[in-house]
């Protein structure tokens, strides 16, 4: 059976199954039980599991993260939810100094099985403080697992694996992924953390992408294929730990790396991929690795800025073409014309969001 559900629904279903599986799982976050239910991802949970396990919280991101940590130390399995990842900066101390370190600084006597869901915004003028992707800051810290699934089936399986994991996991959702659809099995299953996935096999170039850039990379690969270029698209899925072996196997095979990251360039994850390729696959490289990222400036609110700011499938296709000595083309020639403005994922997705 090929059941198609949305990424957002996949998260809701995973949470529901996790809560049914263990009464130690609870969900906390600003807006979790409100009428909008974190873009629908927590819909119906409070009615089903009660307000002791599904609840709103004071606007105290730092302390409430510590509260989740403490409860995890005595057996609970908290899922903390933030509608925007930007608010995690208020909780940096608890995440970095406590959650990430507890296991090693106390010599493995206890760990912190905490899952923090954080959503990266984009479009409709979300602006400088509502559309940052701060993944690299967190992935820099030993002891944190940072995952960013791109496909609905992975969103479900990786959320389940994250809650089953004994370590703190930052689960990053791109807002534009919530409305994407894909096949998602009905039953409960774990998708292993720390593993990348080839989502489109190819031989000429490895487009290694994170989060929403996987969607753009798949569109680009389709367009490139029409031109006889077989791009392999690797969905990173896990920012930390990085699946070095899986990703490098692809890079060695194609000899070309295009690192596509839905975050800033400098000090970011795309640079980490390039560094790994140079360190580990230097002799197999047939061209210099390249990075496609957000520019090193803050997201402007204006709809005009979105077109400048966010790389798209066209950007990727052109960079790949350039790498292979082929001419640059416009969106129409690539057959990659979007039917929605650059600050909107598609016409059905209507602001404000």
């Amino acid at each position: 059976m090929n059941r198609q559900i949305s990424y957002g629904e996949a998260i809701r279903e995973a949470t529901d199954q996790l809560m049914a599986e263990s009464d130690r799982v609870y969900v906390m976050g600003l807006g979790v039980p409100d009428p909008k239910a974190i873009f629908g991802t927590t819909s119906g949970l409070e009615a089903k599991y009660g307000n002791k396990r599904v609840f709103d919280m004071p606007t105290s991101e730092n302390a409430m993260t510590g509260v989740c940590i403490g409860s995890a130390l005595v057996g609970m399995r908290p899922i903390m939810v933030h509608q925007r990842i930007d608010f995690l900066l208020l909780a940096f101390d608890q995440i970095v100094n406590n959650a990430a370190k507890w296991y090693s600084m106390f010599n493995g006597q206890q760990s912190v099985p905490l899952v923090i869901r954080a959503i990266v915004g984009r479009g409709w003028g979300q602006g400088p403080q509502h559309s940052q992707n701060l993944q690299a800051m967190f992935a820099h810290v030993p002891g944190l697992k940072v995952v960013a699934p791109a496909l609905p089936a992975d969103a479900k399986g990786m959320l389940i694996a994250a809650v089953h994991d004994e370590d703190p996991v930052l689960f990053i959702e791109h807002r534009w992924l919530h409305s994407t659809f894909g096949h998602v099995p009905t039953e409960m299953y774990d998708t292993p953390l720390g593993k990348a996935k080839i989502v489109r096999p190819g031989t000429d170039v490895s487009i290694v992408a994170t989060s929403f850039m996987v969607i753009e990379a798949l569109r680009a690969a389709e367009a490139l294929a029409r031109d006889g270029i077989e791009a392999e698209v690797v969905d990173v899925r896990s920012i930390r730990p990085i699946d070095v072996d899986g990703i490098m196997t692809s890079v060695r095979k194609t000899g070309r790396l295009v690192a596509c990251d839905a975050a800033w360039k400098t000090g970011g994850f795309a640079g980490e991929l390039v560094a790994l390729a140079v360190e580990l696959a230097f002799n197999d490289l047939r061209a210099q690795p390249i990075r496609i990222t957000l520019p090193d400036w803050h997201t402007a609110a204006s709809p005009i800025a979105a077109a400048m700011y966010y790389p798209t499938a066209v950007t990727i296709a052109n960079r790949v073409a350039e790498l292979l000595g082929k001419p640059e083309r416009d969106a129409e020639t690539w057959q990659l014309v979007r039917n929605a403005p650059a600050d909107q994922p598609d016409l059905s997705f209507i602001g404000p969001f």
């Binding site: 302390a63 510590g66 409860s71 005595v74 106390f106 010599n107 730990p241």
Partner: protein, 406 residues
């Protein structure tokens, strides 16, 4: 034939009912009165084990019975038969002082290669609070954690081994003196980022609340931590959910070398802040162990009853430098007069005088205690020195669940 009824009392202890049962079966002790039995526990003790032993076949067997009972109730070497609460508080404080004086004496050897934040002068708070706790209650602490750890029953050998960086340390040499932990006595950890343990402790209390348990969590924090948002955020949530937690503010008037008056307006009142959240609170003399103990009993009982959190603010004074073993009055950040005034309020000397005056303590007993502490401390330092450093393979483990990738 039964004779020699005997009581073994203690506090802050690791005894569990299962352990008690099996050990007592071996020596055919007739009954155990459980922790919290007020009729059995004399004032000042969290529990009392009372037993009668059969007329023994041999003196050896009788001795075994006594040893087992004491060993059970002990864990720290601070258990004494039918000891008055005052003596127990005194003993626990004097023991901690002796341990830290030894650390101070040996710190200049440069073999304890980590910061030490000595509690010398501040022992009454840890001891008075722990005396009001049951073994299942949780404690969290700060950078100045030695007294809190020891008073809750944290293992001495593993503590000393930790500050020597050894594998046998309570954190296997990964934590140092600012990360003391002993899960066997529910001393769940300490951290040196000001205020950052407070939310974690609140979360443990929340865990108790979620699981319908009434274990009380105590978190120690300093006057500086009350300035942190983490503290204010935590008490707000604790009040919202009526969590079983006691916030113990040790106000020693300095955050490192920064006095209160450069950090807080004169009108600021931590208990008032608590009250404005609907939280009960009290202020007391943090250098009077008996007063701390009686305040703690009220606070802990209230938290345990489900009536919500409690905030205690206890004034005290750090004698030695903020970090390290020396005295630092030469730095000029506080006056010698102020320092001497607080030295005159030494919590140990104060209680000692009170007990001696009441005829409850004499020079001989004090000498015996001193000898006993020295023996225990010698043993711990010998143990620490003899312990190996961690192997290379013991470093670098950051995940409890191993997954692919790096």
């Amino acid at each position: 034939m039964l004779h020699h009824p005997k009581a073994v009392c203690g506090y802050g202890n690791r005894i569990s009912s299962n352990a008690a049962q099996s050990a007592f079966e071996k020596v055919r002790i007739r009954y155990v009165r459980r922790i919290g039995d007020e009729a059995a526990a004399p004032p000042g003790f969290a529990f009392c084990i009372e037993y009668e032993r059969e007329s023994p076949q041999s003196m050896a067997r009788q001795k075994y019975a006594d040893d087992q009972a004491e060993k059970l109730a002990d864990g720290l070497g601070q258990i004494r038969s039918t000891e008055s609460p005052g003596i127990s508080l005194y003993r626990a404080m004097a023991r901690i002082r002796a341990i830290e004086e030894r650390i101070a004496a040996r710190y200049p050897e440069q073999e304890m290669r980590c910061p030490v934040h000595l509690s010398i002068g501040q022992e009454a708070i840890a001891v008075g609070i722990s005396a009001a706790l049951e073994p299942g209650d949780y404690v969290f602490s700060t950078h100045r954690s030695h007294a809190h750890y020891l008073a809750k029953g944290g293992d001495l050998r593993r503590f000393i081994a930790e500050i020597y960086g050894r594998a046998a340390g309570c954190c296997g040499g990964h934590g140092g003196s600012m990360h003391l932990v002993d899960l066997s006595v529910n001393m769940l950890g300490s951290t040196p980022i000001v205020g950052n343990i407070v939310p974690v402790a609140t979360g443990v209390a929340f865990g108790s609340w979620l699981r319908n348990r009434n274990d009380v969590t105590v978190v120690y924090l300093g006057d500086g931590a009350t300035e942190e948002g983490a503290f204010l955020e935590s008490i707000n949530f604790a009040a919202l959910k009526s969590l079983p937690i006691v916030y113990v503010i040790e106000n020693n008037f300095f955050s490192v070398y920064s006095p209160l008056d450069v950090r807080q307006p004169r009108e600021r009142d931590a208990i008032g802040i608590a009250r404005s959240h609907g939280i009960a609170g009290a202020r007391g003399d943090g250098n009077d162990a008996e007063q701390v103990y009686s305040l703690a009993q009220v606070a802990v009982a209230k938290a345990r009853s489900g009536a919500g959190p409690y905030v205690l603010e206890l004034e005290t004074y750090r004698w030695r430098e903020h970090c390290g073993s020396a005295y630092d009055n030469d730095l000029g950040y506080r006056s010698v007069d102020e320092y001497e005034a607080w030295r005159a309020r030494d919590p140990i000397a104060t209680l000692e005088q009170r007990l001696v005056d009441a005829g409850a303590l004499d020079a001989r007993q004090i000498e015996d205690m001193t000898t006993e502490f020295a023996r225990e401390i010698d043993d711990a330092f010998t143990f620490a020195h003899a312990s190996p450093f961690p192997n290379d393979s013991e470093f670098g483990k950051v995940f409890a669940t191993t997954v692919a990738g790096r």
